[in-house]
Amino acid sequence: MTDKRLEGIVARLLQTGVLLSAAVVLAGGVWFLSQNGGARPQYQQFRPPDVVLRSPAKLIRGLAHPDPASVIQLGLLILIATPVARVAFSLVAFALERDRLYVLITLIVFAVLIYSVAVAH
């Protein structure tokens, strides 16, 4: 497979991820505002949101009983996952080309991303 064809597939993958994410965020947003739309916005002072909204694992577990804020957060998580998926895809592609140097380079980038998203801070 040529690099350019591969890039075409990756680009479509990214676009699909962005569209899916936007759809989920929009659906969650409409639900969110239908419940909280009359409230006063409180963004002047930083207060960390509920812990469920701050951990991908807890968020996904909580989706059995979804609430509007979790649905939006799920959509945002899909969005954050698109570049991670891109790097994972490149990893497979370099492995198929038997390009060991770039498998190693891509693995380093992938490890940093996984550390950021999955490891607690």
Binding site: V25, G29, P49, R54, A69, I72, L76, I105, T106, S116
Partner: protein
Amino acid sequence: MNLSAFSAVVYGVSALAGFLGALTGLGGGVVVTPALTVLLGVDLHYAIGASLVSVIATSSGAAAAYVREGFSNIRAGMFLEIATTLGALAGAHLTKVVPGTALAVIFGVVLLYSAWHSFRARKETRATRSDPLAARLRLESTYPGPEGEVHYRIERVKGGFSLMFLAGILSGLLGIGSGAMKVIAMDQVMRIPFKVSTTTSNFMIGVTAAASAGVYLSRGYIDPGLTMPVTLGVLSGSLLGARQLIGAKTRPLRIVFALVVGLLAFEMIYGGFTGKIQ
């Protein structure tokens, strides 16, 4: 103003930021944060969290258009992403130690610099000799020219890599794409041709931002109620802006935008020094 009206205003402001950001090449994220903090009084941490997510949306959303042209250099991008992702992780951790007032001042300075950089006429200097490291890492590539593929050389790999680390730190610290600094690292330091630098930088932005997104999420900077209208706004604005880009007369618009951005930057710096933004 209730939350519905506030969300509508945030959506509108973000769409405008995304539209003008795409049209001028400055990027939506760098404009949306000062707009939220200076104009709407949003806390800086919520603003940078929402802006960082919107940066991923624009980078991934525009990838398809860029890839079709065949200019981006996948190997150079991936190699330099080691520097940007590590920098972003460090920068995101720094947001906990650096006080908000200092963040506002740094943000204003970076905003002024990026604006100046994007409005300045640039001269392309082609690399004349290859850095041996570029050959060992197989970074050099070709791009489609009018008469077939054009090969280009790459200089000063270590210098470019170091500057990319700094670009990553700023991205993680301020929730921006750091597109301007990424382009400088590639075209000024490594002497990679313009079109290759800008397109490669665009796809690196999303990966860099994803590296700090995890930290932001666990800190609670990514608030669903605010990030929803910001991301949807910046995304729709930037997609519209990218479509307008071809053949549009952007000169007067650029000047107006430069003034607005400059004003917002001074407000950020002033707000930081007086403790109004923290």
